[in-house]
């Protein structure tokens, strides 16, 4: 295990520009019902948070990038951005449900 640490990331997945975003459109369409004006350009995407055990941030990021591109997003219609949320002192892998430590 040596110096391995854990890093927590968020992967933000959003519909590509130019790709229809029916969710964003529906949310926008509902705003008048809430009496809200002045809100526009709504895009609805996904946010995936995950913890990676790795010897370095660089190694962790490489893995997250792979996951983001292959599993968490659909490159044909979505783009993603990776955000480092923090470094954890020890690797914590709660069982089962993916509840953050």
């Amino acid at each position: 295990m040596s110096t391995a640490t854990a890093f927590r990331y968020a992967v933000n997945v959003t519909p590509k520009n130019g790709i229809l975003d029916p969710q964003g459109r529906a949310v926008e369409g509902s705003l008048p019902h809430l009496g809200v004006t002045g809100v526009s350009a709504i895009r609805v995407g996904r946010r995936v948070e995950l913890t990676v055990d790795a010897p370095s941030e660089a190694a962790a990021r490489t893995l997250v990038e792979r996951l983001a591109g292959e599993l968490l997003s659909n490159p044909l219609i979505e783009t993603f951005a990776i955000e480092l949320l923090g470094e954890l002192s020890a690797a914590t892998s709660p069982a089962g449900d993916g509840v953050p430590a």
């Binding site: 029916p22 969710q23 529906a26 949310v27 369409g29 509902s30 019902h33 809430l34 609805v44």
Partner: protein
Amino acid sequence: MVRIGVVLFPGSNRDIDAVNALRVAGAEPVVLWHESADLQGVDGIVLPGGFAYGDYLRAGVIARFSPVMQAVAAFADGGGHVLGICNGFQVLTEARLLPGALLRNRSLRFVSREIAIMAERLDSPFTRAIDARRPLRMPVAHGEGCYYADADALDTLEAAGGVLFRYVHLDGSVAGGEEDRANPNGSLRAIAGVTNAAGNVAGLMPHPETAVETVLGTDDGLGIVRSLVDSAAERAHGDRPVVVTIGAR
């Protein structure tokens, strides 16, 4: 004739089924448009299945803010009977007219098939015309039907008699958790339908309104639809409900 409103959101699609079922149950369906707060003096209300405003974000959330829902909430506050089916149930929980929330099915897949539910009690406005506590077969068809509330809330709900229907096996035993096919969405405590504290608002995920004619395989849902109709009639006109034996099997 009892007039029962069927709320039409732009993405409602089981409105057709609800209208059909109300006719079979001897009521006059009145379609209520989502943009209007005018309930046209109906005696009871059905929120039908479908995808109210596309059901993006979370099922039912956007519908909560529609003009008609403001009126439905007022109607319910006044003691009027409101039954939400499937998407209608989702709308009622989002509007906080019913407790709990409906999460994505644990399988992460839309589930459409025949299941069985059993009424926990036959003394509610939505179950009174059911002939007996027996498994009722009817379809489910939804992607977000996993009933959830935290453990305390569930205990409170149970204690208050708020659990109206549970998923059951054909022998009447209560369904298990997500591994049990009889519980199609992994609902906690196999809860398929609930009612509010006042007992005049109810929701369920399965589709009694699509199960009212034997030609379509089962008429086990008719008791639920007829309960609403009877309750609304009684409240409106002080009618004693006509006792009808349903679902001649």
